[in-house]
C-alpha cells in the first residue's frame, strides 16, 4: 500500500516534469543530466533548469526526534516514567557542553544498561539552539554529545557501542524564538538502535 503510493507520486511527478518541460525549455542534455541519488537515504538532485524534479524518494527515514528511535522495541523499563532509562534527552546551558548535575543519574542508568547489554548500540545526537552561526552550532552540538560519551566511557561503556552525530540547530525539538524553545533545543538525544 505504502509502496503503491510512492509509485503513484513518482509517476505524477514525472508526468508533471514532462508536461511542463514540453511547453518550456528544451535542452535534452539538461533533462538527461538529472542524477537522482542512489541507495536509501540519499538526497535527490537536479540539474539547473530542470524543473522542480522529484522529491523525497526516501523510505524508512530516521524520524529521530524526541525520545529515541527504536526505543519501543526495548524493555518496559524504557517507558516507565519512574525509571531513569525513560529519559533519553540531556539538556544544556547556553553555549555550554558541561553536564548538569540533574542528568548525571540519567547518563549513569544508560551506562549500566549498555554495560549489561554489550550488543546494544546507541547514537548520541548533539543539538543546539538557533542563536549564533550554524556551523559553530554544529561544533557545539558535537562537543555536547562527546561530553555525554566521555562520561559513559569512564563508566565502562565500550567505544564501539557509541556513535556520535551533531545536527547543530538544524533539527530543533521545539520551534520558537525564545528561551522556552531554546532550552529544549540545547540537547543530546540518546537513540537506541537494533534490538
Amino acid at each position: 500500500m505504502k509502496l503503491n503510493n510512492s509509485v503513484l507520486i513518482l509517476a505524477i511527478s514525472t508526468l508533471l516534469l514532462t508536461a511542463c518541460a514540453d511547453t518550456e525549455d528544451k535542452d535534452p542534455s539538461l533533462l538527461d543530466g538529472s542524477q537522482a541519488g542512489t541507495g536509501i537515504g540519499d538526497a535527490s538532485t537536479n540539474g539547473l533548469n530542470n524543473g522542480t524534479g522529484i522529491n523525497g524518494s526516501e523510505m524508512g527515514g530516521s524520524g529521530m526526534y524526541g525520545s529515541g528511535d527504536g526505543a519501543s522495541s526495548l524493555g518496559p523499563e524504557f517507558s516507565d516514567p519512574n525509571n531513569p532509562l525513560s529519559k533519553r534527552t540531556i539538556y544544556f546551558m547556553l553555549d555550554s557542553f558541561q553536564i548538569q548535575q540533574d542528568f548525571v543519574p540519567v547518563i549513569a542508568a544508560h551506562s549500566q544498561y549498555l554495560l549489561a547489554n554489550p550488543s546494544q548500540h546507541i547514537t548520541l545526537e548533539g543539538h543546539g539552539d538557533e542563536r549564533g552561526s550554524r556551523e559553530y552550532n554544529i561544533a557545539l552540538g558535537e562537543q555536547r554529545a562527546k561530553s555525554v560519551a566521555s562520561i559513559m566511557k569512564i563508566q565502562g561503556v565500550s567505544d564501539s557501542q557509541i556513535g556520535i552525530v551533531s545536527y547543530g540547530e538544524e533539527k530543533p525539538a521545539a520551534f520558537g524564538n525564545d528561551e522556552s524553545a531554546w532550552e529544549l533545543n540545547r540537547r543530546v538525544e540518546i537513540n537506541y538502535q537494533g534490538r
Binding site: 518550456e24 525549455d25 523525497g56
Partner: protein
C-alpha cells in the same frame, strides 16, 4: 481521451506555477540620499509574456542607487530617443531616461533600449538584443546591469544567482538556486535530512554543500548544469563549512576526525588533506582571502567565538576581532578590504563589517537573529539570513547600512544565502 489528458496536464502545470515563479515578494526600505532620479518608460510591446521594463525598473529601484519615477507621473511614453521631448523630462526633474521596445520576431524577441541623459539631451547607451521566450527575464536583468554600470561605474549584479537552503517542515530540506530577484527558484538537491552551507565555486558552475542524508555529515560538490555530484568528504564526525579557494582547486573545510573541529585544506585533484589549525578548541567556518594567501575562521580558543586569521599554507595564526562577545561566520568582500561577520553582543546577533586596514567594525543590521552574510560580487551589498515571528527569510543590506531589502518567501523557512560569483 487525448483531449482529457491535455486538460489534466495543463492543470498540473498551472498548479506548479506558483511554486516556480511567484515564490517571494520584495520589500525595500531606506535608500541613499544621493539617489539619482531615473524614469524607465514602459517599453512598447505587444503580446510579450514578460514585462521587461518593469523588471529593469524593479532591479534599479532595489539597488538603492536610484529614485525611480512612478509610471502615472509620466506625461508621454516614448519608445525611442527620436520620440523624446527632453524639455518635458527636465521639467519632471529626471536625470536619466530609459526607453525601448520589444518586438516578436517569429518566436524570438527583438529587444532594444536606450539610456538617455535628460539634461544633455543625448544618448549614453543603446543596445539591440535578441532573446528567446525563456531568456526574457535574463535579458531584462542584463539591461539592468548595463544601465547600472554606466551610471554608477560599478559592475551590475542583477544577472547573478543566489543559492540558499529552504525547509518545509522537519523532513523536507532543499538546496535551491534562484535569480537574484528571487524569481525562477529551482531545487538542485532535496533530502529528508538537513542540508547546509552552500558555497559557489569561483567559476559559478558548481556548488559545494553539507548533507546529512546518510545520517552523518558529508560534503558534496554538485555541477549545476547536470545535477551530477561527488562526495568529497565523509570522515568520522563533522564534515562542514566548505569554502572554495579563489583558484577553485582546493576546499577549506571543518573536520573533527582528530577529536575536535579543525580547519583542513582539501586538494580536490589529489584529495590530499592539509591540517591548518591545531587548537584543542572549536575551529570552524573558514573563508579564503580573495588573493588566496590567508584563511579567516571562527575559533573559541579564547573562551568565546572570535575570528582568527592564518596563512593558507598553515601557521601565523592571530586573533582579528576584539569587540563584541561573539564574532563568527566571516565573509570577505571581493576586494579583500572588508570582512562581514555575525556580530553578537548580549544575545543580539547582527551583521557587521570590519575594515581590514583599520580593524574598525560597523554594525549594519538590527538583529536579533541575523546570520550567514554573503557579499554581492560587486561588493555593494551583503545578503544575509534573518528571522521574524519564527520564520527565516533573506535580507540584503548595502555596505553603508543605509538601504535594506527584505526577500520574503511565501512559505517555508529560507536560510544560508550565497551570492554567485
Amino acid at each position: 481521451m487525448v483531449f482529457l489528458r491535455n486538460i489534466v496536464m495543463v492543470t498540473l502545470c498551472a498548479l506548479s506555477l506558483p511554486n516556480s515563479y511567484a515564490a517571494l515578494t520584495i520589500e525595500v526600505t531606506g535608500g541613499t540620499e544621493s539617489a539619482m532620479p531615473v524614469a524607465v518608460v514602459p517599453f512598447a510591446a505587444t503580446a510579450v509574456p514578460v514585462d521587461i521594463s518593469g523588471i529593469v525598473n524593479a532591479d534599479l529601484e532595489r539597488s538603492g542607487y536610484f529614485k525611480m519615477m512612478a509610471q502615472q507621473a509620466m506625461q508621454s511614453r516614448p519608445s525611442s530617443a527620436s520620440e523624446v521631448n527632453f524639455k518635458e523630462w527636465q521639467t519632471l526633474v529626471q536625470d536619466y531616461l530609459v526607453v525601448g521596445r520589444v518586438d516578436n520576431n517569429g518566436g524570438q524577441y527583438d529587444v532594444q533600449f536606450q539610456l538617455l541623459d535628460v539634461n544633455k539631451s543625448g544618448q549614453l547607451l543603446g543596445y539591440k538584443m535578441s532573446s528567446s521566450t525563456n531568456d526574457l527575464r535574463r535579458t531584462a536583468h542584463h539591461i539592468s546591469d548595463l544601465i547600472f554600470e554606466k551610471l554608477t561605474g560599478k559592475k551590475g549584479v542583477f544577472s547573478g544567482r543566489i543559492a540558499y537552503i529552504t525547509s518545509n517542515g522537519r523532513q523536507n530540506h532543499q538546496l535551491q538556486v534562484a535569480d537574484v530577484d528571487g524569481f525562477n527558484p529551482q531545487t538542485i538537491a532535496s533530502s529528508p535530512e538537513p542540508l547546509m552551507s552552500p558555497a559557489w565555486s569561483p567559476d559559478g558552475k558548481r556548488v559545494a554543500y553539507v548533507s546529512f542524508e546518510r545520517h552523518s555529515a558529508a560534503i558534496y560538490i554538485q555541477t549545476l548544469a547536470t545535477g551530477q555530484r561527488e562526495r568529497v568528504a565523509e570522515f568520522p564526525g563533522i564534515n562542514g563549512a566548505p569554502a572554495w579557494s579563489p583558484d577553485g582547486t582546493r576546499l577549506a573545510l571543518t573536520l573533527s576526525k582528530d577529536g575536535n573541529p579543525d580547519i583542513f585544506i582539501l586538494n580536490l585533484a589529489s584529495r590530499s588533506l592539509l591540517k591548518l589549525s591545531k587548537s584543542t578548541a572549536i575551529d570552524t567556518e573558514p573563508v579564503w582571502s580573495p588573493d588566496g594567501s590567508a584563511i579567516v575562521f571562527t575559533s573559541d580558543r579564547g573562551g568565546k567565538p572570535q575570528l582568527y586569521m592564518a596563512s593558507s599554507q598553515g601557521g601565523n595564526e592571530k586573533r582579528i576581532t576584539f569587540s563584541g562577545d561573539y564574532n563568527a561566520r566571516a565573509s570577505f568582500s571581493p576586494d579583500g578590504r572588508s570582512l562581514a561577520m555575525v556580530h553578537g553582543n548580549g544575545g543580539n546577533y547582527r551583521i557587521a563589517v570590519m575594515d581590514m586596514a583599520s580593524r574598525g567594525i560597523s554594525v549594519l543590521t538590527s538583529g536579533p537573529s541575523d546570520e550567514s552574510p554573503s557579499f554581492a560580487p560587486n561588493g555593494s551589498m551583503i545578503l544575509y539570513a534573518s528571522k521574524k515571528g519564527g520564520t527565516g527569510f533573506l535580507s540584503a543590506v548595502s555596505v553603508d547600512g543605509k538601504m535594506q531589502q527584505k526577500l520574503m518567501f511565501s512559505n517555508g523557512e529560507v536560510r544560508e544565502p550565497a551570492w554567485s560569483p
